[in-house]
């Protein structure tokens, strides 16, 4: 069973960022430095919000631009990051078409979703859900 976080209905999103804080709490830390999900307005609060999170691509563009093989394909879709091989070049951040890889300034490494689903239980409006990757 290969899972990913999917955005059910972005128009339900109120921009509370509870999901972002939740993702950071995976490390039992407060704040936002290490979050792998990102919510921002699409040009001011009046226009609603965009939720950026790894959608577990079958052919992840980030893997193709990682020079050291630190990012590898996860079977069924998505990626895994091997911190030991990562040289902090930031290519993956640029390489992700949907902008779902972020930079952790504290570790100086990319933040990549691990498909754990922790954020999902903190979204008060059911905007995001953990689902099985189709056909995986």
């Amino acid at each position: 069973m290969v899972k990913r976080v999917s955005v059910v209905d972005v128009d339900l999103c109120v921009g509370c960022q509870s999901c972002m804080f939740a993702c950071n709490r995976r490390f039992a830390e407060a704040g936002l430095a290490r979050t792998a999900i990102f919510v921002q307005s699409t040009g001011g609060f009046e226009h609603g919000f965009a939720v950026k999170v790894c959608r577990a691509c079958r052919e992840p563009p980030c893997v193709k631009v990682c020079p050291t093989g630190a990012l590898t394909k996860r079977e069924g879709g998505g990626v895994r990051l091997d911190y030991r091989k990562c040289i902090s070049c930031g290519n993956c951040v640029e390489g992700c078409t949907i902008g779902a890889i972020f930079w952790d300034k504290v570790l100086d490494k990319p933040t990549v979703c691990t498909y754990c689903g922790y954020c999902v239980s903190y979204c008060p409006y059911g905007v995001i859900k953990l689902e099985e990757v189709e056909g995986a």
Binding site: C16, A30, G44, E46, K105
Partner: protein, 591 residues
Amino acid sequence: MTEASALSRVLYVDLTNRRYWTEERRELFKECLGGTGVAIRLLMEECKAGTDPLAPENPIIFCVGYLNAVFPLASKTVAMFKSPLTKNLGESHAGGRCGVAIRMAGLGGIVIRGKSESPVYLVVSEDGVRFKDASALWGMSSSSTVGRIIREREAGAGVRAIMRIGRAGENLVSYAGVITETFRHFGRLGLGAVFGSKRLKAIVISGRSSLTLRDPRGYRAVYEELYMNFTKTSLMKKYHELGTPMNVIPLNVANSLPSRNLQRATFEGADALSGEALSEKFLGRRAACSHCPVSCIHIAALRVPYETEPYFYKTKMISYDYEPIYALSSMLDIRSPEGFLQLMDRVEELGLDAMSTGVALAWATECMERGVIGTEETEGLVLKWGDYRTYIEAVERIAGVKGDFYEALGKGVDYVSSIYGGDGFALAYGGNEMPGYHCGLATHLGFLVGARHSHLDNAGYAIDQKLNAEGRKVEPSEVAKMVFEEECWRQVLSSLVVCFFARGVYTPEVVSKCFSVMGINLAPADLKEIGGRILREKYEFKFREGFSFDKLKVPKRVTEIPTPQGLLTEERLREGIKHFEDLLKKDTKGT
């Protein structure tokens, strides 16, 4: 990596010399928590006695607290300054993204000094401060355009706040506010004018740091409990569903909703302007401050036809809350929600405080009705209850300071009535226009004695609502005690800085637990003591600037219109004031 308990950094910005630096003030935060507690100390340090509120010497102070970015609903920032409206303590709270952004930029407080030679906006981040030219933004007709331009020019999307002023602030209108994230405000008391006096158009602030906890496991457990309380219980239901406008109907039914400058305490348009009706017909989007699952921000979508251009429409997104409905609809007897929303929209774009604006216009309308002023003063405008088009023109003139009358009106009803007359129905307390509650003794006593003369100081109206529901009558001494205790505790909440809507969840015991996972030991009793001390310090500032309980004016009108408790008398209000004063002084001696 920073510990959550290490809140200490204060950023100083000198606009005159375009310099900035930071100072570590750990002891200050330890002693005063943050938010209001730290801000009042910084205000005392920075603002000399008798400072002119619009002089470069008047500082602007922003503070956040230990709970910001750590726990849910700790989403607020406290601003302090000397108020151009009351010439005394200026304090204003706003949500949006600013509370989290300031903390995530590694800061506990910001102090802004001096005056820029030319219009400027500040970009504050973890990397420092940049001073950017704002000449092209100065004089723009809409504060939302300013927001859009800065949004496109600057980094930090998603983790930043963009605080800005409108034309009213540039023109030093005494109750101009500061807008953040389009729909949230540092309202009341004129922070916008202080920005304007410094030629400071906007501040962008962003950050995305991480904070460690002394007890990580405990942190997750306390967080979980709070989160459950906010989302799974009925505690936040009213804010969540209809938002603050859910108050319209109950207040109206209880004869507590001021209308037509409080010539009445019921509003005929209440049904059409109720939270229920607004959400059914206009609610277009919901939004939340950072780290708040409750999402009380309700935004109306209003489709407006162009009068001269057939088949052209614009759709405006306008946030609505109880207080603006009171001031810009009920007080002006505007019974059309479309009319109210259009007036509200313009007030937002110009960057005026909705409450003071509505009360000022209501005073002016009654003056016209009574012949105290005429079209000579208003320069041709005939202000009539319900006529929102004329009111839109009037707010344009207030914000533009067009002519003597509008200039005076822009200084508040206390001031304008001292010149033109009509002071018996000039609804202001301590120089601040009256909020939208006429529930009884605690309500008005609360406005009188509250350090900001705001309904949020001690929520006297909520005390009355409770007493009225229980059918209880209490003496001024007891009312004063309840108001005092509530105001003391609120100093703690606004030092953390949590949203007052979360007060039912953030009890002294819960706050104490929040501190303990950070490794800070503060028992509920310690917290309460700190709250009392902070209130006392705020009053020290007020006394220093010339405030005295004896000089407080009770607008005559308030004692002429019955509340659910019957007619209020000045005597009973004064008795309450006396008791409050005694409690405050007693607290000073620590007994």
